[in-house]
Point group: C2
Chain length 319, copies 2
């Protein structure tokens, strides 16, 4: 199979490229390198089955369409994943997530490509009142521009599946951790503790309950799901656990051998649109035989170890 | 109050302008006149409290922002309402519905306007498996580009309500009938019967079950809802009834004194994305004291009478 991967030089994209190549597939990666890292592709790039095309999904639909020629399956992972600052630049999620997804679908249509896998988010559930939250729980109300843009993208995939006979695999992720992680609370905490090992400041009250998944478990889940035929298949990807932000902070500090003074910004939410409780029901993907191998704590520790071994990443303007 | 109404020269928009003016409010209407009709504004236009500004919501955000200055409340009713031909021009719903809604929200933000009423649709439920369908029923899967674009717009309103402290009133309509109706199955059937009174061709098998609401009942519902304070308020607007397309066709023929031969295109759906069963649970708005006054049959008959008295409308390229 020939896979086309958007956001190929990103955290999740580069891990997926590695996996697909390892399975003997051909991979064309597409990335504008705005947050993607060449070093994330150090496993994939040297392989003969891999091509990286630098291009912008929003600005240049013609280049995207040309780059996609000959692919059998598209993984659309590129996104503005900056859920925290949506209200500071309210057009970014619309452009980089919603309109870009439409561009990807149109490029597929122009090339006669019928299958797509898409990285959505548990944020589409807003602040759910059912926990763990199933895929077909109550029709949610959006609380962030990021969630709204991902919901809009899901709707486009679903309408294209119905209207043009595509297969759409939609993955609603909890936060993903592991190798090449470069954005999120572990990154922020790690950077803070590098700057001032005696003090850690936490957004919100630290009691936000969150669920996390290790990136290699996430890869296993995606590959399990796309092996099944589907028209529109929607899967929550999560674990049976959740933790409080303060638990995660404690694990990080312990891993680093630090005992900082902890302060809190206060409030139930870390920022506007932050859901105080994310915990997804993943029984649908479990029924396909997948289950995560790492606990949240183990995933947090691997992430800390990865950041410790890759301090170059902290110099990058990604987070 | 000073209301700003997008799509002011359209079917629902012009009826709303009439109502708001009748209640003593000031109204600024905005319309690109692509499907709007000056004749729909023959009641509103002469009134001193009314101003019509011609402009395009997609092309000219600066003009929109300027036109909105001084308004207290925005009703965003402009839309590409052409649910049937989404796959023939797949960018239209994205531009005219999703992106335009973002433009409206940004113009509001620039003007410090905090309240918006929005015409969404029962199509956001896709093909629901709960009937009548409540607002918080199972998280739906989209089946049309139109529905997807309205869902995306709802998400934007909700995220703006959370992020910028707006009030958002979202109305999920069944099909609306009545005076100035200019698009939909009654229009299509009426036009067919004018062309060839002995033959009526029905898309699908005629057994699609649909719900309809009279436009003046719709106006009552909207005005009832926006009188309540809210952050995000979502209301289905429908009736306790539904009918089959063949029922409606029969009522139209009887009203016109015709007995045409009826043929069917066949299939459960009239077109790609046509939901075979639309029937909304409107107990939420009922709890505010609203209820529709007209039956579906009476609404169909008023629509036929309106078209009979306004044959100029059939010459327009609206449908």
């Amino acid at each position: 199979m020939h896979y086309f991967v958007t956001g190929a030089a990103g955290f999740i994209g580069s891990n997926l490229c590695d996996r697909l190549l390892q399975l003997g597939h051909r991979v064309t990666g597409f990335d504008n390198m705005s947050t993607g890292q060449h070093r994330f592709l150090e496993v994939s790039a040297p392989q003969p089955g891999f091509t990286l095309i630098r291009g912008d999904l929003y600005e240049d639909r013609a280049a995207l369409t040309a780059a996609m020629a000959g692919a059998d399956f598209v993984f659309h992972l590129a996104a503005n994943a900056d859920v925290r600052f949506g209200t500071s630049h309210p057009r970014r999620d619309l452009e980089q997530n919603t309109i870009v997804t439409w561009n990807v679908l149109e490029a597929m249509r122009a090339n006669g490509i019928k299958s797509i896998g898409f990285s959505s988010t548990g944020s589409v559930y807003g602040e759910p009142n059912v926990h763990p939250t199933p895929e077909d729980g109550p029709f949610p109300v959006q609380t962030s521009l990021y969630g709204a843009s991902k919901l809009a993208s899901e709707g486009l995939l679903q309408a294209y599946a119905e209207g043009f006979g595509c297969q759409a695999y939609i993955f609603r992720f909890v936060s993903i951790l592991g190798e090449r992680y470069s954005h999120g609370h572990v990154f922020d905490f790690y950077r803070q503790l590098l700057d001032h090992p005696d003090h850690l400041h936490i957004l919100g009250n630290g009691k936000q309950r969150k669920s996390y998944l290790y990136v290699q478990d996430c890869m296993d889940a995606i590959l399990t799901a796309v092996a099944q035929p589907a028209k529109v298949a929607i899967y929550n990807l999560g674990t049976d656990e959740y933790c409080e932000v303060i638990n995660s902070a404690t694990w990080i500090c312990e891993r680093l051998g630090l005992s900082p003074r902890i302060t809190y910004a206060g409030g139930e939410r870390g920022w506007i649109g932050d859901s105080p409780f994310i915990f997804l029901d993943w029984s649908r993907i479990r029924s396909l035989g997948w289950a995560p191998k790492l606990t949240i704590r183990a995933a947090v520790e691997r992430t800390v170890d990865y950041l410790s071994a890759n301090q170059w990443l902290l110099e990058q303007r990604i987070g």
